[in-house]
Amino acid sequence: MQKKEGAGTITAKEKAELGSPRIGVFICHCGLNIAGVLDIKELAQFAMTLPSVVYVKENRYTCADPGQQEIRRAIREHRLNRVVVAACSPRMHESTFRRTVADAGLNAYLLEMANIREFASWCHSNAPKEATEKAKDLIKMAVAKTRLLTPLKTLEVPVTHKALVIGGGIAGMNASLDLAEMGFKVYLLEKSESIGGHMAQLDKTFPTLDCSICIEGPKMVDVKRHPNIEIIDNADLLGVNGYVGNFRVKIRKNQRYVIAEKCTGCGECKEVCPIEYPNSWDMNLGVRKAISVPFDQAVPLVYKINKDYCIECFKCVDACGAREAIDFGQKPKEIELEVGAIIAATGYDIYLPYDDPLYGYGKHANVITSLEFERLILAAGPTGGKVVRVSDGQKPHSVAFIQCVGSRDAKKYPYCSNFCCMYTLKHAIQLKEKYKEDVEIYIFYMDMRSNSKGYEEFYERARELGVIFVRGRPSRISEIPETKNLIVYAEDQMLGERIEIESEMVVLATASTPKKDADEIARILGLTRGADGFFMESHPKLKPMDAPTDGIFLAGACQGLKDIPYSVSQGSGAASRAATVLSKPTWKIEPIISVVDPSKCRNVNLKCGICAEHCPHKSIKIEEKQPAHVITAMCHGCGTCVAECPADAITQMHFTDDQILAQIRAALETNPEEKILAFLCNWCSYAGADLAGTSRFEYPATIRPIRVMCSGRVDRDFVFEAFKLGAGMVLIGACHLPYDCHYISGNGRMRARMDALAKMLEKLGFSPARLRVEYISAAEGVKFAEVVREIARQMRTLGKDRIKAENEKLRPILENMTKRKVQPTIRESPAVSKLTITSRSEG
């Protein structure tokens, strides 16, 4: 992959054209949302006093066409080379105004927003004076940063128009078929011998009771026969390198000891094989031969020898005869692929409750799981569709189904598995329809969840068939030794009584869990996992199929448990998301990336590599005696490396040390001891603060927020600088640990850094409350407001005098620590003049 020349930066000529800063400030009324609280005239007059500001304009609605038109006109007429828009949150309209300034010929990154709506007028509406003062500071901070902005160029990388889909279950198959139909080449990687996933193990699907393999099998064949799809089965993912549009994938194709191209799937080898062993496909209730396929409808229909069970009698070789498909010398093969996008559809596992003595699973022969029941009732299963007891092979006349085994259990898996209620209803209906009055069915449940199309009617159908529902969780199950029948002890919550029910078979609806190898897949793909262990999406509402790594998407149960229709939809959705990458000739990357100054990088002379070690996206490469190298297309712009670099050799574009320090200095220019300086990560705590504003939660106006993309960007030097300048309190707001960080682990790095710093400050005599780290999600507006109120209270309790005294005591140490961070010089335009202050009211 070749990086385009000059990507991310501009040429010296372009820089020269920029000249000294000429900043235009546009203050939005937002109807009365801002103007109803803040004194806009005062703000405009104040803005005119700020260095480099040459033009100030008020707009009723800056984001509307006339407002944007005014920005474009002012850029041309007043030769503005930087713009500040004081309006709503940059999370809402930054992209709008970037387009606006770009339309006027200005670089899109020469824009900064001051969030005076969510952060001032909406959250301090009962204190307009304080709100206006805060808004002044917000504008001052924005102008201070804007003076140091440099133009940046969006990066472009070429795109390989091929995709890798990992996992051949129903979600992965749908994703593959959709992408293949769009004309993209798809590699479908399947760990096991056949595609199909769990759906191929099922007898019927709810609520329609369609034969599962009858609807999925033809789709499996479609996948195999599609000219754009190549199935790589019986294979492991070894590694993934590269970045969006340009991934290099390493796969190991494991040996089958059968030559796929020569095997016709006739099965004559299986007939003569003398060894049978338990078939895990049948949940070990059935068997397979040492040479076999896991099930007759397997795709690809290629046999495999399991060497663990092969006695090397070579009867299979004789049976194969002229086909000559058996090859005992076959070795695993490594394959390398290049793809532009990856879809992870790795599915889920089933919990087997051997470790829970309550249910007697593994101890009592006639206690089975729902998937085992599924294999029993399936016509092609080990009993030919007869539901019989493991103890004696007899048909049960009473069956107790127990819900939520392991799931919705704080000690095991606290989440709901989403589909257990429905498959238990399916099993109950199947049994009732098959054996009618000859079988009695009990379902022990906590809540019956039937929240999709046709599901409630399905529940009603079970009731009408005479299924007995008992609300209550069994306390234990015991076995009657003579009959091997089971006694289920429970409390019927509806009756408020303890009950005991004798049943000839017990079926456990056990929790579904993340795949055993989810950790390994997450490591290889750079995915994060939620508290429940499933893969985390980039955003639960707005990007539910995007992984945090660009170009990687999620489908099916690996992202969270879901039923078949939802998995199918998500497979198609992920394909559509992947196509947004694959359909482009090049992929554009926001240039807020890290850049290494080779002259400062310690790795040239020493063995360093701290940046590479802490980069969450592994986008920094280190070679001995060479400066660290940032792979720009892989850099997500969290800035963690910048804060970690001991030599200040790394700069994050658009969030440089100088720019952030300028914001700090502007914020603390007046009455610093009465201010809370806050660093808020863009994705969670800043969004949480926005929500506090949107929700009109009031909190003290003493807070001065600075937006960083990730809390990992918050350098110790920023905290030193803040206290050196006299800040009352410092707050760092981050995404929740351990999984919520949009940059995988930036918040974790920040915590390690700040824990060490807090200890040091405390030793130096600082009140511990003055440096605070809080984890606030985008949904926690209430928490943000509460945290600010609490910090403000603590600040008042400490008192201005004590804060001043502590700061004074530490100032020499802090000055020493921050002396390398010199204030940048800005060439002021000789032509800077305060041109105009106009407002709509003035016409």
């Binding site: 026969r225 009698c313 086909r323 092609a380 493991v390 092979g393």
Partner: protein, 175 residues
């Protein structure tokens, strides 16, 4: 149409032609395997009639490819012999799932056995006496149960079962 019988004839033609040096294209092999998968779906549920046209499509793809190659390489007489066999197979009744299950059956339902991957069943080979196998099993503390069909069921620790298989393979190699 007897799909499975037709499939078996096609499989036999391919084996025969390949032995004679005919290069069968990978797409044809893929169609042959797809046809078998689809036939297995129909065998699993005879109501799944929607797969029938697709089975026929796959079978026809295979037939047309190999018969054309056969005619080119071996002449019309060779092809006619196979064509007659295909015709006979196609006139057989439609395949349907058969009732084959009985307890204990060849499906290996673990009647009365502990749960898990802890058993193997070995059909006796001429080179082994049942006592020889029992001896090998005893060493590894595996339980043996002779089956009605003459095979031997062994159960116990999974690792020991695998060790047993290795020992049998070694004994096999030395005979």
């Amino acid at each position: 149409m007897g799909y499975l019988d037709t499939w078996k004839v096609l499989d036999a033609i391919i084996a025969d032609f390949r032995e004679k040096g005919v290069n069968v294209p990978p797409e044809t092999m893929a169609d042959l395997r797809s046809a078998k998968t689809l036939i297995s779906i129909l065998l699993a549920d005879s109501n799944c009639v929607s797969v029938k046209p697709r089975i026929e499509e796959c079978l026809f793809n295979v037939e047309s490819c190999i018969m054309a190659k056969g005619q080119t390489m071996f002449g019309i007489a060779c092809v006619e012999k196979w064509a007659n066999k295909l015709d006979q197979a196609s006139k057989k009744p439609v395949d349907e799932g058969e009732e084959t299950w009985s307890l204990p059956s060849k499906h290996g339902f673990p009647l009365g056995l502990p749960r898990g991957p802890n058993r193997v069943r070995i059909s006796l080979l001429p080179q082994f006496q049942i006592d020889e196998l029992r001896e090998l099993a005893d060493v590894l503390h595996l339980s043996c149960v002779p089956q009605k069909d003459g095979s031997l069921l062994l159960y116990g620790d999974n690792d020991q079962l695998k060790e047993f298989i290795k020992n049998v393979a070694r004994a096999q190699a030395s005979t």
